[in-house]
């Protein structure tokens, strides 16, 4: 049987009941990867042997009468900017060389503690900077629905892995849309949790006031399950909220959206978006209405008009500071230069790709003496206005529905020479990071060319419960995400 088609819930149940073994599920995933990976390039590093050993361990625990956990035997793929001890972590960059982290990220440790099995490290845009997974030192990743198109980014490999059936769940990171936009392009669910909900210890930092880890899955049920496992308090990440998390899976049987208020953003309704994305959005609003929700029109003018510019000051500024650590001294590629300055210039010049250099330079520029007030400080002020705009909006509604991206997956190479157009792919997702809110992309159907069309749901801070409840009601209408090339 093709076990790769199963959800995380189903795998866990069948493995625990003895219907299938963890080894069988992993072997099925590895076969799936063997047949598709050459065309997809979704994984930078595979760890087949380690995965099979871990699977045998789960099977042994079960025969000994022990409980392997909530994700017993479930294959997972991890974005290659999260550390797993002893496994090469590259961030899709040359600069880290064959660096093997001496520790495991909290989120990965939590998954493994519950019996999940890591299959490999997913392809991504270098240091998570990009919207297409074309900016990877290991070559571009393809969209499983159309190999000539991008899977989105930066967590493109994580999204493609779930859409192609490598694994029912994967982890990505989202600084300006890097989980939600690839989820939309690949037709999966993807959740960026509230800033501070999930520990980032062991995640390679990009923009620390925006970065957040979250799950991809083909159903909201699996998103809730994964979130439950990874969202525990963690004293090693001082931005991680120490409060106890609610039971996310308890909201999934909600029957309707009665008495719920769903906001739509006036300014986005006349924004230049692809007609089929617009149709999907309108259909989603209709479903929400028919499920009993009251639709409320909101105005978020500052976010819509200034979000992109604000983000592309703040994120590169933080990145330029975070990426200063790559100097070739403690890890990564080395140089034989005899002068320290020459060594820095050479290692960083050779090690970073084009887009990363662009962002580091933009960040250095906006933070440099004489420009700091005009750019960085101004952007921080606009960020405050945007945050208040959202706060006001959520005093009136429970959830906001908007597009995830302005278009379905674009063609490879289409936006590579036009960085600003590429940045526009994140216009609907990045304001959510700046306000620290949770956002979820859900597949709402397919275009006439067969490309997935995503819609985005936004919740208030710490509003994951209402977000998942709303998403599960909508999903009942849309159906769970399909596996690309799965011959359904």
């Amino acid at each position: 049987m093709d076990f790769y088609r199963l959800s995380a819930h189903e795998i866990c149940r069948k493995v625990k009941s003895g219907e299938i073994t963890a080894r069988e599920t992993i072997e099925s995933s590895l076969e799936r990867i063997n047949s598709l990976e050459k065309g997809l390039n979704a994984l930078i590093t595979r760890v087949d042997e380690r995965a099979l050993e871990k699977a045998d361990r789960v099977d042994r625990m079960l025969s000994a009468g022990e409980d392997p956990g909530l994700l017993a035997g479930v294959p997972v793929v991890i974005k290659d900017n999260m550390c797993v001890q002893g496994i090469r972590t590259t961030c899709a960059s040359r600069i880290l060389g064959d660096w093997k982290p001496p520790f495991t990220a909290t989120v990965v440790a939590e998954l493994e503690k519950e019996g999940a099995i890591v299959l490999g490290k997913a392809n991504m845009d270098e240091f998570a900077m990009g919207s297409s997974t074309e900016h990877s030192a290991f070559g571009p990743c393809s969209n499983p629905w159309d190999p000539d198109r991008v899977p989105g980014g930066s967590s493109g490999g994580s999204a493609a892995s779930v859409a192609a059936g490598y694994a029912p769940i994967s982890l990505g990171s989202d600084t300006g849309g890097s989980i939600r936009q690839p989820a939309a392009f690949c037709g999966t669910c993807g959740l960026k949790p509230t800033y501070g909900l999930v520990s980032r210890w062991g995640l390679v930092a990009f923009a620390s006031s925006l970065d957040q880890i979250g799950p991809f899955a083909r159903s909201i049920e699996d998103i809730a399950l994964t979130l439950q496992v990874i969202s525990k308090p963690d004293p090693r990440d001082s931005t991680c909220n120490p409060s106890k998390r609610p039971d996310y899976q308890s909201v999934l049987d909600q029957s309707s959206l009665k008495e719920k208020k769903v906001g739509i953003v006036k300014e986005f309704m006349d924004y230049d978006i692809d007609p089929e994305v617009r149709e999907a959005l309108e259909k989603t609003i209709e479903v929400a209405r028919s499920e009993g929700a009251e639709i409320v029109e909101l105005s978020l003018p500052v976010m819509v008009r200034y979000g992109l510019a604000t983000y592309y000051i703040i994120a590169p500024a933080e990145a330029s500071s975070n990426l200063a650590r790559y100097d070739g001294v403690r890890y990564g590629i080395s140089s034989e230069e005899e002068d320290l300055m020459d060594m820095y210039l050479k290692i960083r010049g050779d090690g970073f790709g084009e887009e990363v250099k662009r962002r580091i330079l933009t960040g250095t520029y906006v933070l440099s003496s004489g420009y700091y007030d005009a750019y960085y400080l101004t952007a921080q002020k606009v960020r405050q206005i945007m945050t208040s705009e959202f706060k006001e909006a959520f005093s009136r509604v429970d959830t906001i529905i908007m597009p995830t991206a302005p278009t379905p997956a674009f063609r490879k190479g289409e936006l590579l020479d036009d960085p600003i157009q590429m940045y526009m792919a994140d216009v609907f997702t990045l304001p959510i990071n700046m306000a620290g809110l949770p956002g979820l992309s859900l597949n709402a159907g397919y275009s006439r060319k067969g490309l997935p069309l995503g819609v985005q749901l936004i919740g208030p801070k710490w509003g994951e419960m209402q977000l998942l409840a709303a998403a599960s009601v909508l999903e009942r209408s849309f159906g769970p995400s399909l596996i690309a090339g799965g011959d359904q």
Partner: protein, 97 residues
Amino acid sequence: MAISEQEVRKVALLARLEVDEEEVRSLAHHFDSILEHFGKLNELDLDNIDPFVMDETQTPLREDRAEKWELREDALNEASHRDGDFFRVPRIVSEEG
């Protein structure tokens, strides 16, 4: 606001990035379009806005206590030039200096 190739070189040096002539040209072009975009922010009235106010949730602090870290050797071994318990870098202060 246009940015000169010389300014790009200066910023690249501040960022410790070696850039070739072709990169300088393409970066100057990129800066021009992105700075034009940033200029939009000046349309807003931003007087009396505190740029760094954080929301209600406070960053939790832990006790400042030394802990033994078992992975010291593994971490040191990742360096390309290790010298005992040190990371080795090229000479910083010249002998004449």
